[in-house]
């Protein structure tokens, strides 16, 4: 395996190339001592990580400090809060109900992560081998489609599919299998979480595959390896960083999810996320804080294990050697597999689209008649346009900022090794696991106490903080597959640091940057739990508008809105596809690089 040496240094020294390479030659000039070089490189690493670290220390850690101070309070009705007491922590640890929720949270997160990984690996491999760029692009869009609908709409779709008399159980009944209790229990929660989190695994794996040297597969075949052996011994190890990166995201998101367990668990699935939400709603801020810290503590341990595994399993130079692309073409098995996955992904969305044309104002199924009145109703809604504009404004700014600071931080975490940076890397993932409702409350208290960033700036910066982990995970995973010697070679050929970075590293990780941008934009655009705390009275973003509408009316107007959003996404995707396909013909498209 070429250039495995690149990742061997992790003892507090910068990752330097071995003797005989260009990098070694340049670094061994008498004018620059090792000590100076080390401290210089470390300084560069710290500078790259500094913007992210600043945001994390001020906004996220600041919110955590406030939440921690809340956790040391005891609230008694009609009396002043007792301050500086550990009683709420004691109450948490003495509660069997809450301790069981820790086990349930970890169990569900683990099952969701493993299941999603098992589905995502063959899906990504099959999509990667689809010959037609157009169909490959359509496949990626389908996998992404669930992210474009609200959780309420998706939940309704799943409840119709998984109900005792729903589509799944009716089918089972028809073939003589007794109905399974799927809805309002753990299975429905797991199914719905896998459904929504699948794109977070498929995309990183596809970016891994896009950096995969096709000649390796060919060489394995020439040496007599079967397709399975080639997959197991060549492909799987090389895409492992992508799998681990995606799995990290899915595990963390599963841990902090509350809407799906609340709505599809029917009360039977008690996880820590639902408890935090319930505690905040009941004005039990100390218990909400304690539960959030327990989640954070558990998640940091798991995420640190993921990071360690990723460091151990990372390989360099997968781009390099021959640059041959994978031979395209899928077999019947892969087509059937993709058909099953697409059915799974699209089924609840089809129900949402059909419901949007229902003549009934409540959830009647099958729909009693057809009507477009909910689309007309959508057009008459006050302030919907303002809310859409606010969401786009916030999401675009958050995406631009987080891509800049996140890419710099990922470079620091990948290139410069020190305990401090490793700690910072793990800490940068923490916002992903603390329930957003808790972060929102902490940030509200922080920003209003300090009287800074009270407005859209604060919301954008908090969106940057909560989306930073996605960028760091995806990009550090991508960087672990890049060939560091290219950068060194470019420097030796006289390129400045920025030109060398742009020509080698940035070019190689561009697909992952685009994947990160997509994730960040969608997450920011769809964020409601934290944002609802940061908006002043009278202000609305689109998800908050939807949340507000849902509380007021229970008609299919939101299904109509979800359908419109899917159509707009489809239109944007179609335009993007044309550009990408045009670009891939010229060999210059970044997303084309993913889908190639």
């Amino acid at each position: 395996m070429a250039a495995q040496h690149l990742d061997s240094s992790s003892k507090g020294l910068p990752k330097s190339p071995p003797p005989g390479t260009a990098g070694h030659t340049r670094n061994s000039t008498p004018a620059r001592s090792w000590v100076g070089m080390i401290s210089g490189k470390r300084t560069a690493g710290y500078l790259l990580a500094a913007p992210s670290l600043f945001l994390l220390l001020t906004l996220f850690l600041g919110s955590l400090v406030i939440m921690f101070s809340q956790s040391l309070r005891v609230v008694t009705f009609g009396e002043n809060d007792i301050v500086g007491s550990w009683d709420t922590w004691g109450a948490f640890l003495a509660s069997d109900y809450r301790l069981k929720a820790i086990g349930e949270t970890l169990l569900i997160s683990a099952i969701v992560t493993v299941t999603a990984s098992i589905i995502a690996v063959p899906t990504a491999c099959a999509l990667h081998k689809v010959k037609s760029n157009i169909w490959r692009y359509v496949g990626l869009f389908v996998v992404f489609a669930p992210l474009m609908t609200s959780v309420i709409a998706r939940t309704y779709g799943w409840s119709l599919i998984l109900d005792d008399h729903g589509i799944v159980n009716s089918t089972l009944n028809a073939i003589g299998i007794p109905p399974a209790p799927l809805l309002y229990a753990r299975p429905s929660v797991i199914i719905a979480l896998v459904h929504i989190f699948l794109p977070f695994l498929v995309f990183p794996i596809m970016t891994s595959l896009s950096q995969f040297d096709g000649a390796l597969r060919e060489a394995a075949g020439d040496l007599g390896a079967s397709r399975w052996t080639t997959f197991r011994r060549i492909v799987l190890p090389l895409i492992t960083p992508g799998v681990l990166g995606g799995a990290q995201i899915v595990f963390a998101l599963s841990m902090s999810s509350f809407a799906t367990p609340s709505l599809l668990g029917g009360g039977r699935v008690s996880v820590l996320g639902t408890m935090v939400y319930s505690d905040v709603n009941n004005a039990q801020l100390p218990m909400a804080s304690v539960t959030s810290f327990v989640m954070l503590f558990l998640a940091l341990i798991v995420l640190a294990l993921f990071s360690m595994a990723q460091r151990k399993l990372q390989f360099g130079s997968q781009l390099g050697v021959t640059g041959a692309t994978t031979v395209k073409g899928v077999g019947v098995g892969a087509v059937i597999w993709l058909g099953c996955v697409f059915t799974f992904v699209l089924a609840p969305l089809v129900i949402i689209v059909v419901s949007s044309f229902s003549s009934a104002s409540y959830g009647a199924w099958p729909i009693p008649g057809w009507s477009t009145k909910w689309y007309s109703n959508l057009l008459t809604q006050e302030r919907l346009g303002e809310a859409v504009y606010a969401s786009i404004y916030i999401a675009v700014w958050a995406t631009i900022i987080v891509l800049i600071v996140g890419t710099a931080a990922s470079m620091a975490f990948h290139r410069y090794s020190s305990r401090f940076l490793r700690g910072t890397e793990t800490f940068s993932l923490a916002p992903m696991v603390v329930p957003k409702v808790a972060i929102g409350l902490g940030a509200f208290l922080l920003l209003h106490s300090l009287r800074v960033f009270e407005g859209v700036t604060g919301i954008i910066l908090m969106h940057v903080v909560i989306t930073l982990p996605f960028v760091v995970i995806v990009l550090t995973s991508a960087l672990s597959r890049t060939d560091g010697t290219l950068n060194e070679a470019a420097r030796d050929l006289g390129a400045g640091p920025w030109s060398a970075f742009r020509a080698s590293t940035l070019f190689a990780i561009k697909p992952s940057i685009i994947a990160s941008a997509l994730f960040v934009f969608i997450i920011s655009f769809d964020e409601v739990d934290m944002t609802v705390f940061l908006l002043a009275p009278g202000e609305q973003t689109l998800p908050v508008w939807m949340f507000t509408y849902m509380q007021k009316y229970q008609d299919p107007t939101l299904a109509a809105l979800a359908t419109v959003l899917i159509l707009i996404s489809l239109a944007i995707a179609a335009v993007a596809a044309l550009l990408i396909l045009k670009g891939s013909k010229n060999g210059t498209s970044a997303v084309g690089h993913i889908i190639d």
Partner: protein
Amino acid sequence: MNTTELTVAQTQHSSYLGGMNFTRRSFLAGGVAAAAATLAACASPLRSGSKSTTGSGKLTLTMFCFLGGDLAKMPKEFAQDYQQSHPNIEIKFYEESNTVGYGKMLAQRKVDPSKPLVNLGFFNTNTSIQGIGDKMWQKLDYSSMKNAADILPNFQRKDQIGIGIGSDQYGLITNTNNFHTAPDSWAVLWDPKFAGQVSFFGFPWYAVLVAAQASGGSLQNMEPGWKLWTENAKQIKLIVESNPQYLNVLSSGTAPLTSYFAGTGQQWINGGAPLQYTVPKEGAIPLPVYLQSVAGQSQNQLEACQEIIDAMLAPKWASRWAETSIEIPANVKATLPHNLASLPAFQKSTLDGLMDIDFDTVGKNTAAWSERWKSEIVSKI
């Protein structure tokens, strides 16, 4: 693409840039820069309503109103009318659920009690009691409010912290396809005949109360209620967490039996859902809605808030509140809208039979009861 190709591609792009030709990359970079510049040039997209005075010197007040159905209609109509007769006052709205909205109000109070998030508003009984515990409210002066004397005694408080404008009630809601004959007793909730058919929204303290009363207990002694529900937890099909979900499980027959607000139930029935609301023979549970003035405001603001609250209690607006919220009006001079008069929730027998609830006891115990409900009952469903 191998290393050489990569370098060549990069070089080609550089040469295009050097020749000032527009490449796709420069176009995209320019697009991002233009988007950023446009966004930077755009004014903040968020419209806030929390400043106490506007540029024109008007006194601006933010009123909290409920999120749900037509519950914001009357406050907005009132504000329009009031602002015409009081041009120096501007009323803005914070439309939110009591749970989320109150959480933010409490957080703001912890940060800066002298800058409350809202100035006045509509709050349900539980939030009103919670607010008393948190010292959130400003005491009203009933004697200087001309409409206060017309408010029914059970909507007035001895401590004058808030005053009722109307009352919703908890009764039974059932699916008409599953229950051809409407149930007439709270006992239907734990009747084994309907095992696995009951749904509740969040923590239904009232379900524990009626179970306690049916077993010889009371609000002060809820133990029999807890025991009954622990033994009959399997009655419950699911706990819902949103109104759309509630409507769906009730109207589809997944969980066709519950106890919920008469007003919300009627809204669903009016929308065509196959549901019915019935008043149990033991009596419905009233849920008064209070108007509250928030503590920590300036004297000017407090005076304006009290005047606005008094104006909203007038028969015209109390009647309009009853109509839009589907509630019993608190003002004895308010006329009951015709479309409500025939509904079960508004019959004289219903009003006479409403249970007498000590909401201070409910408020003091809600947090502990909620924890107990989740750990002892929900964990067994």
